[in-house]
């Protein structure tokens, strides 16, 4: 683990100029990376990539897991004993990891074009930024795992995941399940 983390801190410092390799991989981050991916890119079904995720967004999610405002047996357990300082240092750290890479295949051009029209029409770029890198408390979507994106959108729409505020439940009101599939496909293949 130590080696992997070192290697990866090297990458992070290359991505974020001025961030020294010693600028701290928080000790508790090692367990996060074991599932979420050591280079910021998850290789595991249903588990999101956290690389270059917006720190304000990650902080909110960690807080919600700790307070059981967002339900996941694994994450509720992992976050249970985190202090407020841990929440800050872990979310800041995840933001310094490299952003996830797009998949090797560029995606079916017909599906991508159709999905882009939907993305434009629904103004997903309005809050999530033109390159879907997010901003502040609004998460990065670009090259997130497709299965995670689709599940998250479905959970927001059904209110299974209530969200920190009501925005996504409202945005998804007119969006169908088939459209959710296409939105997830598009964001996961964004390049």
């Amino acid at each position: 683990m130590g080696l992997a983390v070192l290697a990866f801190a090297g990458t992070a410092s290359a991505v974020v100029p001025g961030m020294a390799a010693s600028a701290a991989v928080p000790e508790k981050a090692e367990q996060c990376l074991a599932c979420h991916g050591e280079s910021g890119q998850s290789q595991t079904d249903g588990i999101p990539s956290l690389g270059a995720q917006q720190p304000a967004y990650t902080l909110i999610q960690l807080y919600m897991f700790r307070e059981k405002l967002r339900n996941s047996d694994v994450m509720n357990g992992m976050a249970k004993d985190l202090t407020d300082d841990d929440l800050h240092s872990l979310s800041d750290f995840m933001g310094t990891l490299p952003k996830p890479k797009p998949p090797a295949d560029a995606g079916d051009p017909v599906r991508m074009a159709a999905a882009k029209a939907l993305v434009d029409k629904e103004h997903c770029n309005s809050c999530h930024s033109a390159d879907f890198s997010g901003r502040d408390n609004i998460p990065r979507l670009a090259d997130q795992r497709e299965d995670y994106l689709a599940q998250t959108l479905r959970d927001y729409k059904s209110n299974k995941r209530a969200g920190y505020d009501a925005t996504m439940a409202e945005v998804l009101t007119p969006i169908s399940d088939a459209q959710i599939t296409e939105l997830a496909y598009y964001m996961a293949h964004y390049r």
Binding site: A56, L59, I60, Y63, M64, E67, K68, L69, D84, L87, H88, V110, R111, A113, A114, A115, A117, L118, D120, K121, E122, H123, N125, S126, C127, S129, A130, R135, D136, N137, I138, N159, A162, G163, Y164, D165, A166, T167, A169, E170, V171, T173, P174, S176, D177, A178, Q179, E182
Partner: protein, 409 residues
């Protein structure tokens, strides 16, 4: 499932049914068609300036007392502002108890707090609740409004260290997240008033939304007091006329400068205040206004600024502040997001004429915005029995207290 049915009715009303059918054939949705009613982004232009605007959410962790903006806040000469209590994540609606306890609701977390009298210690008195924004107090009982239910805890001020779990008294309410959080208050008629917002930025909706309702304190006798209400998060009653005044938030994405938020007055139960057909009393909605006239609806008594998010409000009946404040209304404006230059983010004072119309709206507590960023965001106000005024700030999880000494600083 009542919820599902109500959603379908809403969808049908809003003309969405076509979309549900279309999606069977996959790329069909990509065909050019107008953005369906119900999207919060209706009206948003594809300009880079518009793309900079997004709703702003408060941080989840409360700001430590020594990092609060208290020293930067400004009040008129003779007034001063101090910290009353901090450390309450997402502190929202305020309510004072009979024995000096101050109750504080929240929206983004699951807790209701109590600030004890005297030492101002913060206790969590209820948790595991869903958007417990509203708090009301009557005859020793605390009433709590979650997203879709109203509950109560009897004898609360004597049981702050070991309060009973809230008991539900009323839950015949929609479950929409959008504008689902609630301010509540108990009127001079000893009934509990509950706002039910439009389920989105600008939508046609069923008869269960877009209104303020009242119920008896045992949950019976529900009736609608005001229609055409987009999203009210604050109301109170005139101490002289006993008429209800309420704030209402105008829609997003029409423009930078209109519609303005409203301050309304209910002179008889069942009045219609226009949303979503007419906003601010004189703007016909570009989407839904066709076939309707603003003259069919009760206009606001004051305009409160575009996108300012005018929320909690109280009449001032105390004697600490100068006489000109007696009978005036303090209104917390949470501050805009759907506007390039932030507006609101302050507490204003609304002074009334003898006939209950509005004489003036002026800033009272300011300093929450610096360089177009929020240092804090006021949500509610609560005069205390000594005549001082509390102001909640959900951005920092804090409550401030404004007093009057008459000495200019």
């Amino acid at each position: 499932m009542a919820c599902r049915n109500s959603f379908l009715r809403h969808a049908a009303l809003a003309g969405l049914v076509g979309l549900f059918t279309l999606d069977a054939a996959i790329p069909a949705f990509a065909q050019e068609q107008p953005l369906p009613p119900g999207s919060p982004l209706i009206g948003r232009p594809d300009s880079p300036e518009a793309a900079k605007l997004a709703p702003v959410s408060a941080p989840p962790l409360p700001t430590p007392a020594d990092k609060l903006p208290t020293a930067k806040l400004k009040v008129p000469p003779g007034f001063s502002v101090e910290l009353y209590a901090s450390g309450m994540a997402n502190a929202r609606s305020l309510r004072d108890g009979a024995k000096g306890t101050v109750f504080v609701g929240s929206r983004l977390v699951d807790k209701v707090y109590a600030i004890t009298p005297g030492d101002h210690k913060v206790k969590v008195i209820a948790s595991g609740l869903h958007r417990p924004n509203g708090v009301a107090f009557h005859d020793g009982t605390l009433y709590i409004a979650e997203l879709s239910k109203i509950s109560k805890i009897d004898n609360i001020e004597d049981t702050l260290d070991n309060p009973a779990k809230p008991t539900v008294i009323y839950d015949d309410l929609p479950a929409d997240e959008a504008h689902g959080w609630k301010f509540i208050s108990i009127g001079p008629d000893n009934r509990l008033y509950i706002p039910i917002g439009q389920p989105g930025n600008n939508v046609l909706h069923d008869s269960a939304h877009g209104q303020i309702r009242r119920i008896n304190l045992d949950g019976t006798g529900a009736e609608v007091v005001a229609y055409g209400v987009r999203n009210s998060v604050g109301f109170d009653w005139s101490p002289t006329s006993h008429e209800m005044y309420f704030t209402d938030n105008g829609r997003d994405w029409m423009s930078e400068d209109v519609p303005e938020d409203e301050l309304n007055r209910v002179t008889k139960a069942g009045e219609d205040f226009g949303a979503p057909y007419c906003y601010q009393g004189n703007i016909s909605d570009p989407e839904f206004g066709w076939g309707h006239s603003c003259s069919d609806y009760t206009p606001p008594v004051a305009l409160m600024g575009a996108h300012t998010a005018s929320l909690g409000m109280r009449f001032y009946t105390g004697s600490m502040f100068p006489a000109e404040y007696k009978g005036a209304i303090f209104v917390a404006r949470h501050g805009s997001w759907n506007r390039s230059k932030k507006l609101g983010g302050d507490v204003v004072v609304v002074k009334l004429n003898k006939d209950g119309t509005v004489k003036s709206v002026t800033p009272f507590l300011t300093g929450f915005i610096a360089d177009n960023n929020y240092l804090g965001r006021p949500v509610d106000v609560q005069p205390l029995k000594d005549g001082s005024l509390l102001v909640s700030d959900d951005w920092n999880g804090a409550v401030y207290r404004v007093t009057y000494t008459g000495k200019a600083k």
